[in-house]
């Protein structure tokens, strides 16, 4: 089971020069040069809460334009149980462990957001991964944690998972640590460091981790209720941690303009203390950085997406910026306005002053492009993934089953899609690839939703450098 055991190696899609002994790439630039074009994607696919009486699955999608099965789901790794709500997932090892001889990027840790069940998938055979281990919810609940979300590896082989609730789906959440044999090691942080939790990212050279806030699972699980926002049940803080100690050093309250801070990213260069967090409900991007003089982190609103009037709706509609990512070269911030139906890219070469480069209006409530290859695009762009070279942006359309049902009820009946835009980083432009469509509406058991996307050999939201 241990990654350090075999010399046979994961069957890598790329063939990069071995400048180092461990997984990943020595630098972000090395990832761009050596990673090669993404030919497969792993995509979280789910049936939870729909009419389809089947378990969620991990889809293996063919992204090789030379292949006969381009744009098709070529394999499905079914979960052993129904009702998981596969959502986010991550690797046992990434570039943060590139110094670890023998460790390989081979196992995917795939949590069930609703079930609190943890799955381990062996992806040594990149095209035919297999489920090798399941940690049942009861075992997770023993640590008074539930609702697993973000998975990152720790540089020396462990895995850290953000947990959004306690065993009752209430607050506080915390972090669960797995060892290199995928056994629960225990709770990572001392209890009581945080109340709400969601996404996190770490920058080990700066000895910092940043975490964000959604809400208690019992609050967000059933759907979005504005009353809960009014009662302060949704988050608006971000927490800066001492990465080595596992303790919160500083909490920043983003205020009313920073409601529901979800996806958070540091720049890829390990030297940087700059990063961005998308505050979904307020639909703003906050830039954060360490003020060396003051010896603490600061956060400032850097991009503001205005709510839009809808002729038939009661209130102006927020963009709902539910996902962001930073290109591997740290030049662009990409994001999705799920409710409006927009993907955008901003030049962040001066991170304090992001400059709008381009955007695409597709699907969602206001999108100009309403169909691709005759397939109606129901929901807006949601989870993003970018090629390592920054030239191809992909996205899926499901946010969370119960929230989909609220805002895009047809997503359950039609299934999600995966779309792609060609990016020109030189000119800062985006263009929809009209030839590209992966349709979860055609899955054998029935229409499925699609959420987070990963490449087999590292991507813009998986890899960290030490």
């Amino acid at each position: 089971m241990s990654d350090a055991s075999t010399g046979s190696g994961a069957e890598s899609e790329h063939d990069h020069a071995q400048h180092h002994e461990g997984p990943g790439y020595t630098t972000p630039q090395a990832a761009i040069e050596e990673g090669g074009r993404e030919k497969l994607a792993y995509v979280m696919s789910l049936y939870v809460g729909t009419d389809v009486d089947a378990p969620d699955f991990v889809a293996v999608v063919d992204l090789d334009p030379e292949s006969d099965t381009y744009c098709e789901i070529i394999d499905r790794i079914e979960m052993p149980n129904r009702g998981d709500e596969l959502h986010h997932f991550g690797w046992n090892a990434c570039s943060s462990s590139c110094h670890m001889e023998g460790l390989e990027r081979q196992h995917l840790i795939v949590p069930g957001q609703r079930s609190s069940r943890l799955h381990v998938i062996d992806a040594a055979d990149r095209r035919n991964p297999e489920l090798v281990k399941v940690i049942e919810p009861e075992e997770v609940f023993e640590y008074d944690l539930s609702a697993p979300h973000t998975v990152h590896c720790v540089p020396d082989g462990q895995i850290l998972i953000s947990m959004l609730g306690d065993a009752d789906g209430d607050l506080p959440g915390g972090f669960l640590e797995l060892n290199e044999d995928f056994e629960i090691e225990g709770r990572w942080e001392p209890p009581g460091e945080i109340e709400m939790n969601y996404d996190y990212w770490y920058q080990p050279r700066q000895n910092v981790m940043v975490s964000t806030e959604w809400a208690a699972p019992k609050t967000y699980y059933p759907g979005f209720d504005l009353e809960d926002v009014e009662e302060g049940k949704y988050g608006q803080q971000i927490h800066f941690w001492d990465w080595e100690e596992g303790t919160v050093e500083q909490t920043i309250d983003l205020g009313e303009e920073g409601q529901i801070p979800l996806e958070v990213r540091f720049l890829h260069t390990p030297e940087s203390t700059h990063g961005f967090v998308g505050t979904a409900l307020s639909s703003n991007m906050f830039h954060f950085w360490r003020d060396e003089e003051a010896g603490e982190y600061r956060a400032e609103k850097a991009i503001d997406f205005e709510a839009r009037e809808h002729p038939d709706w009661d209130m102006p509609v927020p963009g709902l910026t539910t996902d962001i990512l930073i290109s591997m070269d740290d030049r662009y911030l990409f994001g999705s306005n799920w409710l409006h139906g927009e993907v955008w890219m901003y030049d962040i070469s001066d991170p304090s002053n992001p400059r709008r480069a381009d955007s695409l209006s597709v699907g969602g409530t206001f999108g100009d492009i309403r169909e691709v290859q005759g397939r109606e695009i129901v929901a807006g762009p949601q989870m993003l993934q970018l090629s390592l070279d920054g030239e191809r942006l992909y996205w899926t359309t499901s946010l969370f089953s119960s929230w989909d049902d609220q805002f895009y009820p047809e997503e359950a009946e039609r299934g999600s899609v995966m779309l792609k835009a060609d990016v020109d980083p030189r000119t800062g432009t985006l263009e929809l690839d009209e030839d590209f469509l992966v349709d979860w509406g055609e899955c054998p058991a029935g229409p499925a939703r699609a959420h987070e996307i990963r490449w087999p050999d590292g991507d813009c939201t998986s890899d960290v450098w030490q």
């Binding site: 939870v48 009486d53 998981d84 609703r114 539930s146 699972p217 759907g223 009820p409």
Partner: protein, 121 residues
């Protein structure tokens, strides 16, 4: 162990009657009979398994009379996914609800979507 007849009704018109013991949840009993009801956390936190009480012990829910779901069920764990307004409207989480009376329930994935609406629309 006493048991109760629980009639499950889908919006499509499909119905199934399950005999549910007082020490098992409606979800467990349905699963035992091979009936695929939706569910998620199985701890009363997520609401995926929500059903709505239509009739209990011979009394129908209608405009004049709202049934008290707590007369029809005991709960293995607290129904944390439901707010007071949901309970008052007869919603019940089938993953933690053990019957105390014969009843009819609206089931299927469309029931949990009734808990919230699009606040901007």
């Amino acid at each position: 162990m006493a048991s109760h007849e629980v009639r499950l009704e889908w919006p499509t018109g499909r119905t199934k009657t399950v005999t549910v013991r007082e020490d098992e949840t409606v979800l467990e009993a349905a699963g035992r009979d091979g009936i695929g009801l939706p569910y998620g956390c199985r701890t009363g936190a997520c609401g995926t398994c929500t059903g709505r009480l239509l009739e209990a012990a011979g009394h129908e829910s209608n405009d004049e009379q709202v049934l008290d779901v707590d007369d029809a069920f005991a709960y293995r764990r607290c129904q944390r996914a439901l707010k007071d307004r949901h309970r008052a409207d007869g919603y019940v989480l089938l993953c933690v609800a053990e019957p105390r009376a014969d009843c009819r329930l609206a089931v299927g994935p469309s029931v949990h979507t009734e808990l919230v609406e699009n606040p901007w629309k």
